[in-house]
Symmetry: C2
Subunit: 423 residues, 2 copies
């Protein structure tokens, strides 16, 4: 560690200590106070559109100068409609049930002691993400509703926009009687700040990386703070021998094309050899008509000659665009084995009319979401009815799949006695 | 990384791949098959007492030669009664409700899709622990019941005992029709094995360190696999102004003396200044009569001159023996502030007759277990009615407090559709 880093440590600690103090107040805040703060945040966003847009235009100009891709510039860009969308989302979060205080389970012990497990906030949540200013507002609102203080490290390309947004958030929250430090940014510390955040075990209770696979892996590898891994999805659909052809065509197309850049989009299509000739022409023609490039194995290319040869690397690739890997397999067992080898454990779906195969797929495929006869695009907090979207966990510890407000909480045991001691 | 370590990597991978295959079978195993395997384990322990004792005597002899402390030798030692205790514990675990397959929540979505969140095993669980052979059997049985394959790295001082125990476990499990590789040891790989286990992200789903604070910190700092931190307890009791004197005397004594070497034993006693003269003489006299050394601040020593002066370091010390730190505080607020500063977040208890203060303590102290008028020794899986004891989590992610079988599981989302696609 360089002496520069040591200096930064000294500077980061007061910020994290202020977060901890804010977290103490937030944990005790009644739902109505938190909702009032959320309403103030909505109003602040709507009331300061010009300031937000000015800052955002500066980020966009710098981004263009630095050669950001069109996709990245689009994610970075705010306009009046998007700001209104953010304000509306914050209002939605205010309407959700407060998870804090929920009694998860409880009982009386034989000695008369009563125990109950109660939902509490984590405390201080760190979030490391890329240049998407909407994440700043979404995460701050979700953290506030679940009683957590949040420390944000956004992508440097959004630094101006985030500075204005965090300022508005702090002012709105402060004006509602909750600590302004409920939301803080460490963007001024640059990359060093992210590194220090990952080492701040004890100061930060949980760290959530949101963004590219590279970002998430870097956080997972370096963090000493417990991490909830989100994201990467090499998502599979298996067309079983008995698959309904219409469902196969529509579900595959929807899963791949409806929004190809997201983690629950289809990346690899597997088809049973005895259904390949029946299903693949129609399924792949509809994909091709939408501009999808098919990477096929030899048996796929016999049926669909327009396919390019699939490489070994393709089976593990998350294209995030209009490409798909397709393979013919000899059996359900082979399909499950392929998925076990290449899947990132996000979402897999089987299209089948066979109840035994459906149940085997659901039981034996080890992913956050396993589906029968449904589009993989349904693995989503909004679709599941969770309201707010924190991300989709692909790890097994703590949260798995779409994360709603309860996934941003811990629990504690409340023990009420009347003088009992242990024999 | 030395080339020696790289060679070891090559050797460890086949073991972890065998664990993964075993985990697939275990995840699908019906409860009755898992219970039959547990019965076979009990029988194997009871039927091979001489072999176990011979191996254990070799470890004890080596331990004496290497200068192990009396306490460590005691933890390492098995005798007929302890082996019978292990066999009985395995039978108890067979009687517990199987957590796998439990539907945690579920609903129908507006589009007719049905979703349900179902409890599933983690898959492969790694455990790094010290020279306590009972942990080998306990953890293996708990993992088996919860459908997890387990990879064990025990302390080298118990290597002979563990080799015999793992052999018996594998034979018994294999004879029941489940994979013998459900339980594996990497003890032959020595320290390198533990290091590699911590790097085996993807191969190992969760890592649980059990043992000293040093061991746990080393795992937390080095592991790239998600960790459940167990253990360290700087446990507090606060005697409020209104505390019942009899309860104060009995609860403090029980919390400190009943089993001082464990993590839920009392380490620091705080007392309200307006109750110090009334309560401390009786409370501390009873502790002293049991051989407890009192480390007191200046106001404590005025009331109880036998106390030695408490140092700053004492407030953060887990004595794990017959010593206690004692301070007089000016208010409930000061008591909570002291706890917030020095506690490890394990267990804290208030002794009070004041309902407002009781509720404030329960709400504002951020520990895995918070208590009113009860001994801290009750933070325990057995006392909470969980049956088996996996450890006590002091982190907030995934599990907090005593860990039973459900805490060794994850969940997955089952999604059943009939051709739905996302609009």
């Amino acid at each position: 560690m360089s002496s520069q880093t040591l200096t930064d440590t000294v500077q980061l600690t007061p910020i994290l200590e202020a977060s901890r103090r804010a977290a103490v107040d937030l944990a005790a805040a009644p739902t109505q106070v938190k909702n009032r703060a959320l309403a103030a945040v909505s109003a602040a966003l709507r009331g300061n559109v010009p300031d937000i847009l000015t800052a955002n235009r500066a980020d966009l100009a710098a981004g263009r100068e630095n050669g950001l891709s069109g996709g990245m510039l689009d994610r970075l860009m705010l306009d009046e409609a998007r700001i209104e969308g953010l304000a509306a989302a914050v209002e939605q979060i205010a309407l959700l049930t407060d998870p804090i205080g929920e009694v998860v389970r409880g009982r009386s012990l034989p000695n008369g002691i009563r125990i109950s497990q109660v939902r509490v906030p984590f405390g201080v949540v760190g979030v490391i993400y890329e240049a998407r200013p909407n994440v700043t507002v979404d995460i701050a609102a979700i953290a506030l509703k679940s009683g957590n203080a949040v420390v944000l490290r956004g992508g440097s390309a959004a630094e101006n926009t985030n500075r204005v947004l965090v300022g508005l958030l702090q002012q709105a929250i402060g004006s509602s009687g909750l600590p302004a430090e409920s939301v803080q940014t460490i963007d001024p510390f640059g990359r060093e700040g992210a590194t220090l955040l990952m080492q701040a075990r004890g100061h930060v209770d949980v760290l959530i990386p949101r963004g590219s696979a590279g970002l998430i892996q870097a956080v997972v590898n370096q963090s000493k703070v417990p991490v909830i891994e989100t994201g990467a999805g090499v998502v599979h659909i298996f067309l079983d021998e008995s698959a309904n052809a219409d469902w196969a065509v529509e579900i595959v197309h929807n899963s791949k094309v409806q929004r190809p850049s997201v983690c629950n989009a289809l990346e690899t299509l597997l088809v049973h050899r005895d259904a390949a000739a029946r299903l693949l022409p129609g399924v792949l023609a509809k994909l091709a008509a939408s501009g999808v490039t098919v990477h096929g194995d030899a048996r796929v290319r016999e049926i669909f000659p327009a396919a390019v040869p699939a490489t070994e690397e393709d089976w593990g690739t998350e294209y995030m665009g209009l490409e798909v890997s397709v393979a013919v397999v000899d059996s359900l067992d082979d399909a499950i084995a392929h998925i076990r080898r290449y899947s990132t454990g996000h979402t897999e779906s089987i299209i089948t009319n066979d109840v035994v195969n459906a149940e085997r797929f659901l039981a034996e495929v080890d992913s956050a979401a396993v589906m029968v006869n449904a589009s993989t695009r349904f693995t989503d907090g909004g679709e599941f009815g969770f309201g707010a979207e924190v991300g989709i966990s692909t790890q097994k510890l703590h949260a798995r799949g779409p994360m709603g407000l309860p996934e941003l909480t811990s629990t504690k045991w409340i023990v009420r006695g009347s003088g009992q001691v242990r024999a």
